[in-house]
Symmetry: C3
Subunit: 319 residues, 3 copies
Amino acid sequence: MNPQIDEHGQFRHLLTMQGLSADNIHSILDRAESFVSSPGSGPRTSAELKGRTIVNLFFEASTRTRSAFELAGKRLSADVLNMDVATSSTSKGETLLDTLKTLEAMDVDMFIVRHHASGAAQFIANQVRPGVAVLNAGDGRHAHPTQALLDVFTIRRHKPDFASLSVAIVGDILHSRVARSEIRALRALGVRDLRVIGPSTLLPSGLAELGAQPETDMDRGIEGADVIIMLRLQKERMSGHFLPSADEFYQRYGLTQSRLAGARADALVMHPGPINRGVEIESRVADGPQSVILQQVNHGVAVRMAIMSMILGQSGARR
Amino acid sequence: MNPQIDEHGQFRHLLTMQGLSADNIHSILDRAESFVSSPGSGPRTSAELKGRTIVNLFFEASTRTRSAFELAGKRLSADVLNMDVATSSTSKGETLLDTLKTLEAMDVDMFIVRHHASGAAQFIANQVRPGVAVLNAGDGRHAHPTQALLDVFTIRRHKPDFASLSVAIVGDILHSRVARSEIRALRALGVRDLRVIGPSTLLPSGLAELGAQPETDMDRGIEGADVIIMLRLQKERMSGHFLPSADEFYQRYGLTQSRLAGARADALVMHPGPINRGVEIESRVADGPQSVILQQVNHGVAVRMAIMSMILGQSGARR
Amino acid sequence: MNPQIDEHGQFRHLLTMQGLSADNIHSILDRAESFVSSPGSGPRTSAELKGRTIVNLFFEASTRTRSAFELAGKRLSADVLNMDVATSSTSKGETLLDTLKTLEAMDVDMFIVRHHASGAAQFIANQVRPGVAVLNAGDGRHAHPTQALLDVFTIRRHKPDFASLSVAIVGDILHSRVARSEIRALRALGVRDLRVIGPSTLLPSGLAELGAQPETDMDRGIEGADVIIMLRLQKERMSGHFLPSADEFYQRYGLTQSRLAGARADALVMHPGPINRGVEIESRVADGPQSVILQQVNHGVAVRMAIMSMILGQSGARR
């Protein structure tokens, strides 16, 4: 049984893409459609979560992801509390569990959790009382499910026939929770041709078991691809044994205009952001007509509103 | 005359427990009852303070207490502004009074003040214009009235006959604003057997005048007690002349399961948090069936909503 | 054409006072009148911007100005997001433009921008898509238009006949975006006798072209003035080549009670805050009957609500 979903098929948490079916995923994406704004019409809002309390519990700093969750919650009329545990003196030596239980006792309905330890969101979901929801906003190298959902949502809006797609994910796969969640989501939705590209030092073992095909040559990897997802390269991993230099990475794996020509002419260019221009991606590709990077950001709010609404809203499971 | 209460018996500020009658205290606790959530029903909210502005003016960092006040204000539909003066460059050398007057000029209705100096909340209450309220969220070693209120609220829900109770407060009484406010609240509510327990270096003089009985022996102090309130030990006072070590403190005053057996079988175990496990309290006592520590946290929001509502709400004194 | 105002005379941005007519300015001030609170009646609020998103994008720390904008937005029922880029790890090396475009993609309706670089607000306004508004909350030494508006609003409420006024601005004109915006606003409103006073090292060239008369002697400068605007002296400029010491500045330019006697008996004393008591201004002048410093703060919220409402509200240009 999937601990994220109750016996009636309702979401209780969102912790990982593992175990989610195509139907589960499409149900979130369908709901997200209703939260996408029309150009120039201002953000979509609703009173659905009025009186509910959502806490952004961030043990790693991330203004960008936190803002997307904060806006999603506020636009559903929830009360949103930001707890920046990374930088605050919050805990005063308190254990993670005591911090959590203390907040829970204040009648929090949902925790958005980012933590540097893989498994933290699942651990927290195991500890909260029934009716309290946990959304994983990134845990260690493990999972970042809302990022994967906004990615497949963006792909579906352009190229809905997942079974026919060739998708390439490029970069530091080894350290990437984003890549892990994307691979699971894309495979669940039926993608058969899924290529995972990077230097061998940054390709973890076990990719074949997940249904992804490892590849160290960029040009071969993106040949004929319908979708290219570039990952952010963490600069702190540049020096050391993983990579010789940012320059060399760009030479071998950077998505330039000329390299992009090897993919399909209508290939989508994606990136979870923040982008390192000239490291993973050439500026004119990032800003070019095939880039859907800013659409991803826009869809990120819609997807988060969707899952919040499905878990805490009127039509979600009652508590 | 009590500056916290106007001539019609309405609260104008909440600065200290000193001078509050049993009726004054019960009126807040009665109101708080309406803000306690039922298990699994989500937080209680109201539109009572819609359009009102509450500023959390914190000169000492405290994410925990600030969060409780922030949630209390938001759940009453007030606009809440967080001013973390401890860490911000807010003042740029501005005096406390200029910071206060500037915020007041922005039509702030209520200041929640935490400050390291004893008397700061009273000082600020003396300076604000009529109709502007001040709630003391802890000032130096002086007072922490909302903590005392949530404590007596928690006790009242379990053991309402204060006159018959034996209550023990344990730990660093000398530096504790929590203890000072608790002693006043418990005495006002009629507690006759009030024991204050700690090493002699941490027991201030004048306890007898307040109606509390000092005691240096833990086992004798908690014998037959109905309620045991453990205080947080500030680690920075561990080394130095007050205490030899955390270990020795735990040996002499830590609330262990075996020691707890000396109190009444239904004795309540309380702590204002955050707890230091293995310093003041054994984990299985903190998490055990007699512990009401998380209820205290829950009641902390309800009590703060109550006093905000009584001062700023429709039924409060008009301005 | 003024990029701040569209072809129908509607405000799209507020970036600078340059190019604004007396009619443009009075239209904002007229709207601001409806947002000034009556004494003791609590803040004015409205549901006008419900569902709109306003982001405080501050690249320089400023709790005071940020709070005024935050309250203005919240009192109009907008969702307000604070992005403190100065202190956060927001950008992770991201370019200003990428940070901006990312937030814009989250369907932000308005950016409030403070930046240390002159021209930053204009740069950002050039980059946002149609329908997204930018308010300049201070850019380098260039402009601080909402400060100038709240100043002239305060003057107009006391002395509405601008053409007959003698106004003196005193202090570090060279580094002051406040002074630049005030000079433009006062001139646009018809002030003919505008004196700009400070040591010659702090008086920029080109003042005469702006219609202001430079003056190095304080007593001569404020003689017969109807309005005296003291600027904040940045302490970091005290030592160095601009000024010998704070003491000497106060001796020559500090606004003392005896010096104030040289102005008109009903002269208004103004200061953008935070004030340095005993550096720019004597305490009894700052707190005296002629001081309107706290009125300025109060009006600052009203003026910001006015411009937000004019740009994003129902009666503003539709998008």
